[in-house]
Symmetry: C2
Subunit: 417 residues, 2 copies
C-alpha cells in the first residue's frame, strides 16, 4: 500500500487501489461452511420446470424499483416530474422504463405515420421529414447523460432535507441515443448565411420550444429516434426528439415537430420566464445550456441504513456537460482527505461514468463525499462555492458536492457541511 | 472522393466516408415545401394535455417489436428459445425485455432472500454468498455481447431459408453487465494449487452446469447482478448469473447457485452430449468456448422490402469473442468490391459494435454482405470456408458471411453465394 492508501485505509476506512487488488482480504462473505455443509436439499424452484420464454420480458416479482412521481404541480399532474431510482440501479445505463421524466403538458399519443419534422425559416428550401425519411439518413449512436436543469435544487434550500438520492438527484439518467446528426438536415435545407439560431418546437400541447445557436446545432446535436436500442418511448419524445448532449434536459425538445431557422433566438416562454439563472446582481443568465461537472454517491445514500460493520462498496455517478470525466475522488471524513475512486464505463464524452471504491465501516460516524473533475479541468465545487454565483431565488444548474452523513447506528442522511 | 469511393459509388452504390461528409447531397427528404406550406393546422395531440408521468414507463401503442419464440422443442415449451428482433433495433444495447433467451428447463421463480452462491470443492474454506454479500464486493461494469453457440445455424443447412435476420441471427444481444469479478470470490475461498477447473451450476430444474478452466475463470468472468442498469431479469438469471465475456451463451450459467473447484472438468451432459463441435474426421471439439469474429447486416435484411429507389443506410452489428472489432467492410455486389463502414460504439472488448454505410439503390438487383475483422486480426470467413472445418451434422459456432439478395423489386432475401 502507498502511504496515502495506508493513511486513508486506517483513518477514514477508504481502501485504495492497492487494497482493491487484494480483495481476498475483504472478508465480506456471509458465512464459512464446513465441507459437508456445501451439499444441501434442493430449493423449491430446482424441483420443477419454470415458466417458458416470452415475446416481451418482465421483472421479478421481488423487484419493484419505480420512479418517484411528483403530482404537486398546481397546473395539474401533467406538468410534473418523475425521478430515476438511482440508489437501486448500477452501471451507467438507465432502463427506459425508469428514465426520469419532465413534461410541460403531459405525454402526447403521437401516430408516427402522421407525425413529421419541418425545417423552415431562413433556408433555401423548407423540408418536411417523416420518421421513415429520417431512418434513411446516416445515424450515430452515443452514450449520453440527460439531466434536468433543476436537478438537485433541494440542496440549494437553506436546510438539508432528509431524503433519498432519488428524490434529490433523480432527474438524471443515462442512455445510448441513436439519431440523425442535425447538420445533415440543416445542410440539405440550406441555411442562409445570415441565420444564427434555430428554434425547436415540440408537438405536445405546451408547444415547448427552445432556441439554440446554429453553431451548437451543427456540433453534436441529433434528432434522436432510438434510446437504448429500441425506438423512443412516448415519455421520451416518440417518435423523435432533439438531443443536445451535455445541455440541460429541456433543450432536448421531445416530440420534435418544427425547427425554424432565424437570425435571433425566439425568447420563448421557457427561456425567459423559466430556465434562466438569476444572479446575485439581479440580472439573469440566459441560454446557459451546459450542465456543469458533477458527481453523486448513489450508495450508501440518504435514508439507507448500514446493517453491519465491515466492507461496503461506495458507488456513484459522475458527468459533465463540458466533456468526459477525468477522475472522481471520494472522502469518508467530510472532505479532510480524498482517495481516487476506480472508474468504469468512463471516457465517454458527455456520458455517465460509474465510480467505485471499497470502504471499511467500523461503526463510527462519517461523512461521505465525491468530487468529480472533467476533461476540461473543471472541478466540482463545494456546496458553498456552488451557491455563491447565483441569487438565493435561483436553483438551476446546481452542482455542489453532496454530503451523506453516516451515524454510529449506520443511518445515512443528507447533510450540509 | 477517392478513386475507390467513386468506383464503389458508381458501381455498387455504396457511398464511402467522403460522400458521407457531404450528406447534404443525399436528397432523402420526402418533400420540399413552399414557405407558405410550413404553417399547418395543429395535429390532434397538440390540442390537449397528454397523459401524466408514471412510476414505470411503457412503449407506444404503435410499437410492437417482440421476440420470436420457438415452442417447437419436443421436450416442452420450457426448453425453447426466443430471438431478439435485430431488424427493428438500432445502436448496440438490447433492451432487457427483448434480450434473447435459451432455457433448458424454463425460468425459475427465485426468492432472492433465500438464494445463495456456494463455492466449494478444492478450496481452503467453502463459502456461501447471499445477494447482499455480493453487492458489498467491488463491482465492474462492461458492455458485452452474448451469443448462443447455435446462433445462425440455419445458414449451415443445405438450402437458404427465406427468413428474417431475427429468425436466423436473433440469438444475439448486447448489454451493459455489472457484477463481481469471480477472482475475488475464488481468492477468498482460497483455491488449492492443484485445482484446474471450476464447475458452475444453476438453480433451474435442469441443473444446467458447465466447466471452465480456472485461468479463464480468473480472467474477465463475473458473477453478474445487474443488466443495463437494473437487477437481472428472471429470464437472464435473477438474482445472479455467471457471465463469461466472449464465450458461447450457455457457459454464462443463469441462476448461478454453486461453483465447485476441482482438478478436472465435470464432463456434464451439456458439455458431452451437447455443446461440442463435431469435426469432419468424426472427432468432436470440447470446451470450444469463444464465439468467433462475426457480423451481420440488420437493415436492409431478409423479408424486408425497399419501397423506393434512393439512398438507404446499410446498418448492422459486429462482434468477436477474441477481442474488439477493428473494422467492418461492406459489399453491395456479392463480394466483388468492399468499402469500409463507419463504426460506432466500437472499441469495446467483446462488445457489440454498430457499423453503418449509406447505399444508393438504383433499382438493380444486388447482394449485400458484411465482413468483420477483430483486434486479433481474425477475418470473418465466407460461408463455404466457415463450413469447411465442421462435420455437416455440426452447427455450433457458425460465423460465415451473411448474404442478403435484393431483387429489382426491392425484395430482400437470404441467399447462399
Amino acid at each position: 500500500m502507498t502511504d496515502r492508501d495506508k493513511q486513508s485505509s486506517t483513518q477514514s476506512g477508504l481502501l485504495g487501489r492497492r487494497a482493491l487488488l487484494r480483495a481476498s482480504t475483504l472478508g465480506i462473505a456471509g458465512g464459512f461452511l464446513l465441507p459437508t455443509q456445501a451439499a444441501e436439499t434442493l430449493p423449491l424452484w430446482s424441483t420443477h420446470s419454470g415458466s417458458a420464454q416470452s415475446e416481451y420480458g418482465g421483472r421479478s416479482a421481488f423487484v419493484s424499483d419505480r420512479r418517484q412521481t411528483n403530482f404537486g404541480n398546481p397546473f395539474g399532474p401533467q406538468a410534473g416530474v418523475s425521478y430515476t431510482p438511482l440508489a437501486t440501479l448500477n452501471g451507467t445505463i438507465t432502463p427506459n422504463s425508469l428514465h426520469f421524466e419532465r413534461h410541460h403538458s403531459g405525454i402526447p399519443a403521437i401516430d408516427p405515420n402522421v407525425h413529421s419534422l419541418t425545417i423552415y425559416g431562413d433556408v433555401k428550401r423548407a423540408l418536411r421529414f417523416s420518421v421513415d425519411d429520417l431512418r434513411a439518413y446516416p445515424l450515430e449512436s452515443h452514450c449520453y447523460f440527460l439531466e434536468c436543469s433543476g436537478n438537485s435544487f433541494l440542496n440549494t434550500l437553506a436546510s438539508a432535507q432528509d431524503l433519498s438520492v432519488q428524490a434529490i438527484h433523480g432527474l438524471l439518467s443515462g442512455a445510448e441515443w441513436t439519431g440523425v446528426p442535425l447538420r445533415y438536415l440543416l445542410d440539405e435545407a440550406g441555411v442562409d448565411s445570415s441565420a444564427r439560431w434555430i428554434v425547436a418546437e415540440g408537438a405536445d400541447a405546451s408547444g415547448h420550444s427552445r432556441s439554440l445557436p446554429i453553431d451548437m446545432a451543427r456540433d453534436k446535436v441529433m434528432v434522436a429516434l432510438y434510446q437504448n436500442g429500441e425506438v423512443l418511448r412516448p415519455a421520451q419524445g416518440y417518435p423523435m426528439r432533439l438531443f443536445v448532449p451535455g445541455s440541460e434536459g429541456n433543450v432536448s425538445v421531445k416530440w420534435l415537430h418544427k425547427i425554424k431557422v432565424q437570425q435571433t433566438p425566439a425568447y420563448s416562454r421557457e427561456e425567459t420566464s423559466k430556465y434562466t439563472d438569476l444572479l446575485k446582481n439581479g440580472k439573469a443568465e440566459m441560454f446557459s445550456f451546459a450542465m456543469q461537472v458533477k458527481s453523486v454517491i448513489t450508495s450508501p445514500s440518504g435514508t439507507m441504513s448500514l446493517k453491519r460493520r465491515g466492507v461496503y462498496e461506495i458507488s456513484g455517478l459522475a458527468w459533465s456537460g463540458a466533456g468526459s470525466i477525468r477522475g472522481v475522488e471520494v472522502s469518508a471524513d467530510g472532505g479532510q482527505s480524498w482517495v481516487a475512486a476506480t472508474m468504469q464505463s468512463s471516457g465517454g464524452d458527455r456520458a455517465l461514468t460509474r465510480f467505485r471504491i471499497p470502504w471499511h465501516w467500523q461503526g463510527h460516524s462519517a461523512v461521505l463525499q465525491s468530487r468529480a473533475t472533467d476533461s476540461a479541468g473543471n472541478i466540482q465545487p463545494s456546496r458553498t462555492l456552488a451557491l455563491e454565483k447565483y441569487s438565493a431565488a435561483g436553483f438551476y444548474h446546481y452542482n455542489g458536492i453532496q454530503s451523506w452523513a453516516v451515524d454510529s447506528q449506520g443511518q445515512v442522511k443528507n447533510v450540509f457541511v
